[in-house]
Symmetry: C2
Subunit: 411 residues, 2 copies
């Protein structure tokens, strides 16, 4: 099995793959901003106007001239003439003359003349038109100035950003209701293997249903790509090459999930090597599960051969497929993997020199998370159904003992 002669550590394999993949010109499309969640921005967004667009009060209180409050105290309050309650959502249309004050609400526009807002609790209306202020206030206190948050022309969201809810909200605050984002890269998905049938079919005795086409589609979608299914191809080189060439021409990337036999995997590798140069970069990754992984770049397009085993395919796709789609999108977001800390409730053996990802189930004991390793013989998908996450055991570690504090990557 030549494929196992040059096993690479997973993150080294990923670097080789991503470094060889050229950064393409990312095609874009204009879509409604409300539909742009998780899409990737292709142009910097510059503020079309300042925020706020007018000076606003940050509290409920009284708009005053700060100088009218100097020296005020509980025992010797400043007396100021109360003139009006200011409306929300419009220019108050009055000027605060020296010695006068007006009631203003949080978010209300600061009227002409006023330069500060006394909080409600530091003043009291003692008659219909007479306000007592019990504390001195500084100029601009409780006021946010026009443009203080964002100035016109300021770069507020950068090209390459994957839009989250705050970004969508920020675009709305400028009235930007349409936005140019990266087109979803088309990712071809092919399953091969003589033992595989489509999930809606009843397998003949000796066959199993194809899970990977579905799970890989969902991973591609989650990463921001558009999965294009090319179905199940039998382990026949001519046929596989024909379907693959079509997929390679029509899409921006190709994902194979091979059958579970060595010959099916070898076939995948032979076909990939005919697609273009430089071709196969990594053939076999020092990782469990997922050893028989193939990473290739063919004439500028990424091609990944995933293990046929559904659990291996999912673990490997989390690492390689997501990063591939990210690069195709021109995404620049930080790679932040959220985890949950937990105490291991059983020992996990692991072989040095190999990265392991072990599924665990989480349970909470008096506010503390514990992680129960899921041991299993076959790589059945239902072992992942029982799992809440995966524990990564780096190659230099030879197993983890019960009681160790670990970080669980959620599934």
């Amino acid at each position: 099995m030549p494929e196992f002669l040059k096993l690479k550590p997973p993150f080294e394999a990923l670097s080789i793959f991503l470094d060889t993949l050229p950064q393409r010109e990312v095609p874009s499309e204009v879509i409604p901003t409300v539909s742009a969640l998780n899409r990737v921005l292709v142009k910097d967004v510059l503020a079309p106007h300042p925020l706020p667009e007018f000076s606003r009060s940050t509290v409920d209180g009284y708009a005053v001239r700060a100088s009218d409050t100097y020296g005020a105290s509980e025992s010797l309050p400043a007396f100021i003439r109360y003139v009006a309650e200011l409306p929300m959502g419009k220019d108050p249309g009055i000027t605060i003359e020296p010695g006068t004050a007006a009631l203003i609400h949080t978010g209300g526009m600061i009227p002409n003349g006023a330069d500060a807002v006394v909080m409600l609790e530091h003043a009291q209306l003692v008659s219909e038109d007479s306000l007592e202020v019990y504390r001195p206030i500084g100029v601009n206190e409780n006021v946010i100035q026009k443009g203080e948050d964002v100035k016109t022309g300021e770069k507020v969201i950068f090209s390459g950003t994957r839009l989250r809810i705050p970004e969508i909200g920020g675009l709305m605050s400028f009235g930007i209701t349409e936005i140019s984002v990266a087109q979803k890269p088309r990712v071809a998905i092919l399953s091969s293997g003589d033992e595989i049938v489509a999930p809606q079919l009843k397998p003949a005795y000796g066959q199993v249903r194809d899970i990977n086409s579905t799970t890989m589609s969902l991973i591609v979608k989650e990463a921001g790509g558009e999965p294009i299914l090319y179905g199940i191809v039998p382990d026949d080189e001519a046929k596989l090459l024909e379907v693959t060439r079509k997929a390679f021409t029509e899409c921006d990337a190709v994902l194979f999930t091979a059958g579970s036999s060595a010959s099916s995997r070898d076939l995948t590798s032979q076909v990939i090597s005919k697609l273009g140069s430089p071709g196969v970069l990594v053939h076999g990754v020092q990782v469990r599960p997922g050893k028989p992984t193939i990473l290739a770049v063919c004439d500028g397009k990424p091609v990944i051969g995933l293990p046929g085993n559904p659990v291996s395919a999912l673990v490997i796709a989390e690492i390689f497929v997501k990063q591939m789609v990210k690069k195709l999108l021109g995404e620049s977001n930080k790679n932040i993997s959220p985890t949950i800390k937990a105490y291991l409730s059983g020992n996990i053996p692991s072989q040095a020199g190999r990265d392991d990802w072990v599924p665990v189930s989480l349970f909470n004991e008096m506010g503390v998370w514990k992680a129960e390793p899921i041991y299993f013989k076959s790589n059945l998908i239902f072992n992942l159904v029982k799992a809440d996450g995966l524990v990564h055991i780096p190659s230099e570690v030879t197993g983890l003992s019960a009681g160790t504090m670990i970080e669980v990557e959620l599934l």
Copy 2:
């Protein structure tokens, strides 16, 4: 401001709210399994057949009778007659007689007679029909038995589970291509406030664009609900009550985002108290941002009044709206919040007796994550755009010092 008289700690407020909300009969619908990601299952899934459906090899090797290998060693191999290469995906149709072996691939069906598989590396074909085996092998070694993973009728996915990619894959392995899931609860979203205009409009001087309708819609969708927008209602009690009654009748839950003024918030609370009993449960939460939050249950339906401030609304919705939708869906998944560990790069002051959520920006320094607190005067949405996550400072903590290891909840 009566609303601040009885501030509740956030998690106590959440418990009161969820405990008062009755668990409803969850309406269901049948949809294609491939579209069921993040939907919630309404019935347990029982395995319609065993997995695997036939005994399979877990390695590439030779199917044998284990007893033929007893006593074998490197120096004294067992000689076994090689009879065939077994096909993938079908019944091999042969019987392994005593003293014979057949080549089998990973995932291939174990033929009659055979009860173990010798790995390729522990055997060698020395002539066309003669195999040397260098190690003894036990019965069932490298074999996964029919039904060993899952037995017929076994409960494989529980009602109330939110379907992730592994669950979708698991359903596919049984050929379950349609599935009954909870209908998405309809969540009405109303914005009030005289200073608010729709995002596609140009605000008059003194107005701001409505961000919350959009961000709350996205939060509701993410949680698994269907947002129904009822637009912006001016701060007029009769008008607000009319629109609210309509929303309350047509939907399973109502979310308000009030204007930023105290009077707009008071109006929301008055209107909610007219919808049904028991009505307002919590009026004001001891949290920053998000103090002016209203939680109510009216005639069995949940109603939430969110702060008008877009940052506060988002932080509060992460806690209360998501849990509300989860209960409406009958979801039973564990509440696991993934975080990322980081060292704080600056001090964060905080007042004892109040839960704070402070936005931070993450950066990586030589493989270590650091979290930079984002200090700001106004609660502008672009402060969240700069943020990667939030740091929760519980009420008993009075601030955090630079250098402290913290957990960041990603946005």
